[in-house]
Symmetry: C2
DNA sequence: CGCCAGCAGGCATACGTATGCGCATATTAT
DNA sequence: ATAATATGCGCATACGTATGCCTGCTGGCG
């Protein structure tokens, strides 16, 4: 208190007051073993007293480590603001928390994948590495990801974890989650389970969820019926449209597993319009457990991903790369949240 | 391409290749008038060629400007992760966009207001200024804000804009928004309008909304009835509880203006349980236009805040301070979104 | 033809920290 | 007692950019 503003204390000021040299201050504050305990504590006291804090720019410049990671959201369908997938926003909380726990700063940006932002961020030493978060057509991103790998940029991606993914990837066990949903519906006696969601290589996460559903059905000796799978992207409208398509096909079904909650909500709207009851005529399971899922009527049974774990794993995986350590395994278990859309 | 990684080009490399001195490179790339056009273009070409990008740390260190702002979320009720107010998350999109447009980086953190994080961020030159975002008991924050002002920290806060606010503040015109909601309900012939939301000095934004409602009623010669105001914080449960209280009071009401969408959603649930129809028995207006608002049955009439404008204004106000320029005015108009909870 | 103005760019240096290396003093082994 | 080792700290310097000041040159004008 009292020092004229714009005249922030430096490590030299501390050194002077402590009667030591500037390097000693630096070492002391970083906890180097080569400063005696007494000296260190004296320096720490003075630093606290002066309200000193290490200049981040000087420190990063000298050490070539920014202790900062950059979070890049990308989504292809929405060039407009605000319409961010609620699931990712929830994950943001977990990521910031883990960054805080590890003493990292977090830079954030929403970008189209076209910009070369991602490269720039590491080149300019703003960040030590990147977290890439986004749904969208995976095949469109492959080239970009390959570039990143080629440039030696450290990054980690949220998505489908498989053999052919490019770069370190962290994701839920989507196959297991699909199996979870399938088992649940099968336990309830449902046999004609529809899947709403793009299930091709462009959207591997959705495809995995479908594969898990098929696994569960196969375990009961039920062959998947292609007529019960309808493509749909993440949005509510898509869920509505897909359900209309499904109904239009005239094949009977007694359950729906939707690849996202928004799809499920759209589906519920379409079912209501068609005079079908939930869960009476059709049981329905969503995916993501977005806040709105518990607010629908009936509340939506869904799959909850481990977002806290996801945030930790993303950050840890990135740091492991930067520090040249072995990467932790990349998949996280998901959990079924039963609500009245299946059990009512 | 091709340069060994870890050997990033510097301005010296460019200078060498261009046959000029390093300072000239710096000036050229920053667009200084004292570099000839020809030289500048030559330098720019080489820089592009080498995939050069200015080292952010060195630049910030030297210029004492980080061109970065820090966004601090704080909410008192949720020490747990994830449960972030969706409204703020939507605003995040607008803020990042404006930061991008102004060439600023954005640091982000969720914190309890107790930590001295906010001071640290500017002291350590991580950020030029802070954006403070959070609901919560305003009176609890006053001391912190006063400290920030005292420390000369640049910041801007989202909240109620009034005479007694501490530090530069940006917010919606909550009084006007309340009037908007009131006028709408009055136009529909409703006369007994309840308000659900804390309306004291601890939550000035809510109080302003209530004041606007009272204004609108007063303009029609209707005196506000204290029995029709029930305290409620932001959450859905609170809305449910408040509505039960309201019903329990036995005073007749034909409309509800809720201080937030989540309160409104809770209210709708309580009304349904009590056998009251929306909008037949009770018309209801929310606030925020969160994504779930259009998914309720019936869809919720609500007040939409100008989030794009808010993001711009927050960033612009902060930058104006840093650059020692006059601050733009701090209030933004809100808009009524009519859905079936009032007009059905 | 000489003088002053203005343009383009170079020189030197500062920003604040981190770290390799060397040098005392203190400690132990021989 | 002397050599070997450890401990604690200072010296010098590097990180890469931005900027105040000065210089050399060109051109216009009296």
């Amino acid at each position: 208190m009292g020092r004229p503003p714009g005249n922030k204390p430096t490590s030299f000021d501390i050194a002077y007051l402590a009667g030591v040299s500037q390097p000693t201050v630096s070492r002391a504050l970083r906890g180097s073993r080569s400063v005696s305990r007494a000296t260190r504590e004296r320096i720490e006291a003075i630093a606290r007293d002066l309200n000193y804090s290490v200049d981040k720019n000087a420190s990063s410049l000298r050490s070539q480590r920014s202790n900062t990671i950059a979070l890049l959201f990308f989504e292809d369908p929405t060039p407009d603001e605000s319409n961010i997938n609620p699931f990712f926003l929830a994950m943001l909380g977990a990521i910031t928390r883990q960054c805080g726990a590890r003493g990292l700063d977090l830079l954030i940006s929403f970008q189209k994948m076209e910009d070369d932002w991602h490269v720039r961020y590491q080149d300019s030493h703003r960040a030590d590495g990147l977290i890439l978060l986004g749904y969208g057509d995976y095949t469109l991103y492959q080239r970009r990801l390959t570039e990143l790998v080629g440039a030696g940029t450290y990054f980690v991606r949220w998505g489908s974890v498989g053999a052919d993914t490019i770069g370190p990837t962290v994701g839920s066990d989507n196959v297991g989650a699909g199996r979870l949903a399938g088992d649940h519906l099968l336990d309830l006696g449902r046999r004609r389970i529809a899947f709403l969601g793009q299930a091709d290589e462009h959207y591997p996460e959705f495809a995995d969820r479908y594969a898990g559903l098929c696994d569960a059905m196969a375990a009961q000796g039920i062959a998947p019926d292609p007529a019960l799978q309808v493509d749909a992207l993440t949005a509510e409208d898509a869920g509505h449209a897909a359900t209309m398509t499904l109904i239009g096909r005239g094949v009977p079904f007694d359950a729906i597993f939707a690849a996202s909650d928004l799809i499920a909500i759209g589906a519920m709207r379409a079912l209501a319009e068609a005079g079908l009851t939930v869960p009476g005529d059709v049981a329905i399971v969503g995916f993501d457990d977005i806040p709105a899922a518990s607010l629908t009527t009936p509340p939506l049974t869904t799959i909850m991903q481990d977002m806290k774990g996801a945030g930790q794993l993303l950050v840890d995986t990135l740091v492991a790369q930067v520090e040249d350590q072995p990467l932790p395994p990349g998949t996280l278990p998901a959990r079924l949240v039963v609500r009245r859309s299946t059990s009512g």
